[in-house]
Amino acid sequence: EVLSGVVVITSKDTVQHQGISLTMEGSVNLQLSAKSVGVFEAFYNSVKPIQIINSTIEMVKPGKLPSGKTEIPFEFPLHVKGNKVLYETYHGVFVNIQYTLRCDMRRSLLAKDLTKTCEFIVHSLSQKGKLMPSPVDFTITPETLQNVKEVKVFFFILNLMLVSKNFIIPQPLTGELVVENAEAAVKSIELQLVRVETCGCAEGYARDATEIQNIQIADGDVCRGLPIPIYMVFPRLFTCPTLETTNFKVEFEVNIVVLLHDDHLITENFPLKLCRM
């Protein structure tokens, strides 16, 4: 695709300049989490940014611009450097994928050069193939649970069904949950959307999970045997298609958290794969 627009210059008098140029840059910034590698290393060992795209064009040869408003239209083809992939714009905690457009006006020695930077957003095209709707059916019973620390275990069965493992943003996450049988009263059922960022570097890799959204789908002691809908809209700024590259990964998971009346907690984790259509 082509990035297009206009550069607008406004001035009172005529402007003398040594040329105006546009620079497009795109890079992946990786930051190691202090938790996984230690504070110092995190500080020093910031992985070098990976450049995805970088190109410059000269817009105007050195000369003069008339006073008033001058508009200079431009078009910029998005050509990737080498065999790199054009990732989608993404702002995470440890992974940042950012695209910027910079306009420079060089001026004579006496005056400072003028610069203006502007971010632009890249949405990747729909990813073809490998979109198999794979429904997840799951039943949670005391037997399926790991880490049972309490001596007393209530008898309960949760039937869980996610429409698919693969989701297409911006469509929401959907599914159903049935509390088939539970001795204890349910207090609340929540849906936790977790993002997992993984940065790989020379020293190994760091994996960090952040909760990006938590939504309650049931409040109080719900009726047994009645399917409760699971429905979650993916927050726009915090989600992107699942990314897997050699250097870094952005993945998503969803946790189903059932809180029982006496503050017992039942959690089940499901990895998700997000794509864009």
């Binding site: 929401p172 009263a185 349910v186 059922i189 959204q213 938590n214 939504i215 309650q216 789908i217 049931a218 409040d219 109080g220 002691d221 719900v222 009726c223 009645l226 399917p227 409760i228 809908p229 429905y231 979650m232 809209v233 927050p235 726009r236």
Partner: protein
């Protein structure tokens, strides 16, 4: 010197030429009536808030139906502008079609009407608390022109506040405090919105809807729901309007039924932002409510948005564990759904079925434990569901096919004839539907178990339906028997009367007085012990109202033995009077013929007496007037036919009973006068000894009644009127007495009287009365023992002594009018007579002494007038002088004999005086002169020619 006149020939000359009138369909007054405009304003679509019911279509206005389309103006308008009319018609028709198919018609009972009911019914005395996580109030005054980034930052800060914000808990609120607090929130929502703090507004709404998940003090929950959904509605409206205002392109706002394509991108983006924001609300209940509140905004995004959202929200409610909270959430969704997309019935049905699925939860442990903690009984708890279920069922039943209703019934039945559901079904479904199956319903009600929902409520609901629609003919008696069997067993008087009130209407509608009597007797039996009726006046009152609506034949009504004993239960005076008023209104409205039935008379007199006795010093004027009008209406309806004596004794009795209400006394005097005239008519003017005595009795009645009135003009007029009646009935001395009384009353007339609560000068009234009086005096014969023209002199003396307004000419006007009288008195035959009464013309037979007496009187009067004219010689009164002079001149011209030199000279002088200072109206003067010239051409009027010559016409210049 009055000129002699031949009234008969004069009247023939002066009479208007009689024109045969064509009384066809044309009547001059008829077409004035404006026809009802034909394009009825259709109810806006989705106007669930409009409370007006379009009764106009069902009730034909007799005026408009008769005159429909005869208004020439509207016809003309219609002819002149056919294009717009047809266009308007088309659009209304289209609109109507659309209404039928999709929108909610006016027959849908709107939420607003339920609202008040719920608030009044579900109250509590327990302490409430509000938990609010409001952000700390920072100085958030955003400076004008602040950069976008700053705005974003403040918004983000506000959002942070929302997360961590200080918890504000308000404990121990009374219900009123609570309601005030919510109202405050509503206000601060509007304020926040108008000051562009959208995030704060959203926060308030979220906090409010969070309150709905709290079921402590459960008996207040329905009211809380009402209060908080008000806020949500406000919010929904604000958001919708804001986005709508963003769609205004080139100052053209979107039409009502816009399509999403015509919405511009900014608006769409804003709208999407709202939805994303709401979708990220963590808690379920606020997320549900807020999204439901802005459901309408889906219209901006896509056509199918609402139809996709509704089912999703419906199933979302399944996540709400507490059945009460869930059912109210459903009610809210149905309400919003009906408002935004009434055609989407499926989600309504789904809501109800989901509710049925979760119904067993009500009896589950969680709920039961909660009830124990709060100390709430099951029957009370179940009634909390009613408003919500009623509403949901009402939405479903609205214009639903019979099949669906039957299916619903079946589903309810499967849940073991649950009373709660049954009650809601009865209050929500169409009355006809229920009425047709009333026997089934009674059966089902009987089968319900005792412990749960109160049964009397069920019977009440059934009764309400039966009052609206008729059950099949054959079942009617059985229904009543079955129902009453249960009702009569109710122990609690309040429960009992609430049921009975409803069933009385059914009884009155379909059965005879025997059944009504039985029912009333039963009510009395139940309500009398422990004076239970004292707490049930509104219900008892409504029973009376229903009875008199259906039994308006009063002889039948009073033959219902228990009716009067029933009335005796109203022992509080204000209520008693209210009830009496109702009965009297109905009597006046429905009784067509006058009555003499002693039962009715006795009963109604008793009722009227009750009303009358309620009047005291504190009674308002309006109230008095109303009572008097009712009693007057009754008095007018009483007639004993030819038994005049009885009639008079009734009036006498009435007078003693209603002595505190003046309008009633006035009415009685008029009635008695009428009675006297009636007698005269029957006797064809020749009274026998017996009737003469009776008539005198009537006159005496009036004579002693009049002085008890307070209004002086009423008294004066009644004296005059009664005097005329007495005269007509040949009671000369009585008539004299009336006139004398009137004469002696005149000096007491105050300068100012109050008319409709405003003080007005009385002279106009007095002038009118005196003229009237003088014209009556023409025919009154002189009393043999008093001097000539005793009454006229007396009246003149009174006028002379009366203190007139300083700068008014009324006195002179009256004197001039007296001249008319005096000239009429000198005629050989008077212009009018009272049958069988010899007036002065016959008594004196034109005796010269009598004439001389009159002439003397004339001279005195003229002297008075001239005196007065002289005093008007000042600069500022010249205009009045001129007018009066002309008036006097005209009098002389009309009544005087101008062949008399003195009179002739006087008239010329007056003519000159009238013109002297240039205040005379030239046109009038010219016309007068022309009149004189015309008259002069008539025989015996030749002297007018001379007169005309002597009257110079002054030109204004």
């Amino acid at each position: 010197h009055a000129r002699s006149r031949n009234y008969v020939s004069e009247s023939e000359v002066c009479k208007l030429e009689s024109v045969p009138l064509d009384f066809g369909d044309y009547h001059p007054l008829k077409p004035i009536t404006v026809t009802e405009s034909k394009t009825k304003k259709m109810n806006r679509k989705g106007s669930t808030s409009s409370t007006s019911s379009s009764s106009s279509s069902s009730v034909m206005d007799p005026l408009s139906s008769v005159l429909d389309g005869t208004d020439p103006l509207s016809l003309f308008a219609a002819a002149a502008d056919p294009v717009t009319t047809t266009a308007a018609m088309d659009s209304t028709r289209k609109k109507r079609d659309k209404d039928d198919s999709s929108a909610v018609g006016s027959d849908f009972e709107p939420w607003s009407s339920k609202r008040g009911e719920i608030l009044a019914r579900y109250t509590t005395t327990e302490k409430l608390s509000i938990n609010l996580y409001m952000g700390s109030e920072k100085g958030k005054a955003t400076t004008a022109g602040s950069a976008v980034s700053e705005k974003v930052r403040t918004r983000l800060e506000e959002l942070d506040d929302l997360e961590e914000g200080s918890q504000k808990e308000l404990l121990n609120l009374t219900q009123q405090d609570y309601m005030n607090r919510i109202e405050e929130l509503n206000q601060s929502l509007k304020d926040a919105w108008s000051s562009d703090q959208k995030v704060k507004a959203l926060k308030i709404v979220i906090q409010c809807s969070k309150l709905l998940s709290d079921t402590t003090v459960i008996q207040f929950y329905p009211s809380k729901f009402v209060l908080i959904t008000d806020i949500l509605d406000t919010f929904g409206k604000l958001v919708y309007e804001r986005i709508l205002s963003m769609c205004v392109d080139n100052r053209v706002s979107l039409p009502d039924n816009f399509s999403p394509e015509s919405v511009n991108d900014t608006a769409k983006e804003t709208c999407l932002n709202w939805f994303f924001k709401i979708a990220s609300i963590r808690e379920l209940i606020p997320r549900f409510y807020v999204e439901a509140a802005i459901l309408k905004c889906n219209k901006f995004l896509s056509k199918t948005g609402i139809s996709e959202c509704l089912p999703r929200l419906t199933s979302m409610i399944r996540g709400i564990g507490d059945p009460l909270v869930a059912v109210y959430a459903r009610a809210y969704l149905c309400r919003v759904g009906m408002e935004v997309a009434p055609q989407l019935k499926e989600s309504l049905n789904k809501n109800f079925f989901d509710f049925l699925l979760t119904f067993k939860q009500i009896h589950g442990d969680t709920v039961q434990n909660q009830l124990v903690v709060q100390g709430v009984e099951i029957p009370l708890y179940l009634t909390l569901y009613s408003p919500a279920i009623d509403w949901i069922l009402q939405c479903i039943a609205y214009r639903a096919p019979e099949v669906l209703l039957t299916e619903m019934m079946e589903r309810c039945k499967k849940l073991g004839n649950n009373a709660l559901l049954l009650n809601s079904v009865m209050s929500a479904f169409r009355a006809e539907f229920i009425a047709a199956r009333s026997m089934d319903f009674i059966g089902m009600i009987k089968e319900c178990d005792e412990s749960g929902f109160p049964k009397h409520l069920l019977f009440r609901s059934l009764g309400l339906n039966l009052a609206l629609a008729d059950p099949p003919e054959n079942d009617r008696l059985q229904i009543l028997n079955e129902a009453w069997k249960v009702i009569t067993k109710l122990k609690n008087p309040q429960d009992y009367i609430n049921c009975a009130e409803v069933w009385v209407e059914y009884t009155c509608k379909h059965f005879t007085k025997r059944e009504v009597n039985t029912v009333l007797a039963d009510v009395i039996k139940h309500m009398t012990p422990d004076r239970a009726f004292e707490d049930a006046y509104p219900q008892l009152q409504s029973i009376i109202q229903k009875v008199i609506t259906y039994i308006y034949d009063f002889s039948l009504l009073f033959s219902v033995e228990k009716f009067l004993p029933f009335l005796d239960m109203f022992q509080k005076e204000s209520v008693r009077v209210e009830v009496c008023k109702c009965i009297m209104e109905s009597f006046i409205k429905h009784e067509q013929e006058s009555t003499k039935d002693p039962v009715i008379l006795n009963a109604l007199l008793h009722i009227c007496k009750t009303m009358h006795d309620s009047v005291n010093a504190l009674t308002l004027e309006d109230e008095k007037r109303m009572l008097a009008a009712l009693i007057n209406g009754f008095i007018k309806m009483v007639s004993f036919g030819r038994d005049f004596e009885q009639q008079l004794s009734f009036y006498v009795e009435a007078r003693s009973m209603f002595c505190n209400l003046e309008p009633v006394l006035v009415q009685l005097i008029h009635s008695v006068n009428q009675l006297a005239m009636e007698t005269r008519k029957v006797m064809k003017g020749n009274h026998s000894r017996k009737t003469a005595a009776f008539v005198r009795a009537c006159v005496a009645f009036c004579f002693i009644t009049i002085p008890s009135l307070s209004s002086i003009f009423t008294r004066l007029n009644l004296y005059l009127h009664s005097g005329q009646v007495a005269l007509a009935n040949q009671c000369l001395s009585q008539a004299d007495a009336f006139f004398k009384a009137a004469v002696s009353l005149v000096p007491e007339v105050p300068k100012m009287i109050s008319v409709d609560g405003k003080m007005r000068p009385s002279d106009a009234f007095l002038l009118e009365f005196l003229c009237n009086f003088f014209s009556t005096l023409l025919v009154v014969p002189d009393h043999p023992e008093q001097g000539v023209l005793f009454l006229v002199r007396g009246l003149l003396n009174v006028i002379q002594d009366y203190t007139w307004e300083d700068n008014s000419d009324d006195k002179v006007r009256i004197y001039t009018n007296v001249l008319h009288l005096l000239s009429a008195m000198t005629q050989e035959a008077y212009i009018y007579h009272v049958d069988k009464v010899d007036s002065n013309d016959t008594l004196y037979g034109g005796d010269s002494k009598f004439l001389a007496e009159i002439n003397k009187l004339c001279e005195t009067v003229i002297a008075q007038i001239l005196d007065h004219l002289k005093t008007l010689g000042k600069e500022e009164t010249l205009k009045r002088q001129s007018q009066l002079a002309l008036y006097f001149f005209n009098t002389i011209l009309a009544h005087g004999d101008l062949r008399n030199n003195k009179l002739n000279q006087l008239s010329v002088n007056l003519w000159n005086l009238a013109q002297k200072h240039g205040f005379a109206d030239t046109k009038t003067m010219v016309k007068t002169l022309e009149y004189i010239k015309r008259r002069s051409k008539q025989p015996e009027m030749s002297h007018f020619t001379d007169l005309a010559l002597r009257l110079p016409l002054q030109s204004r210049t």
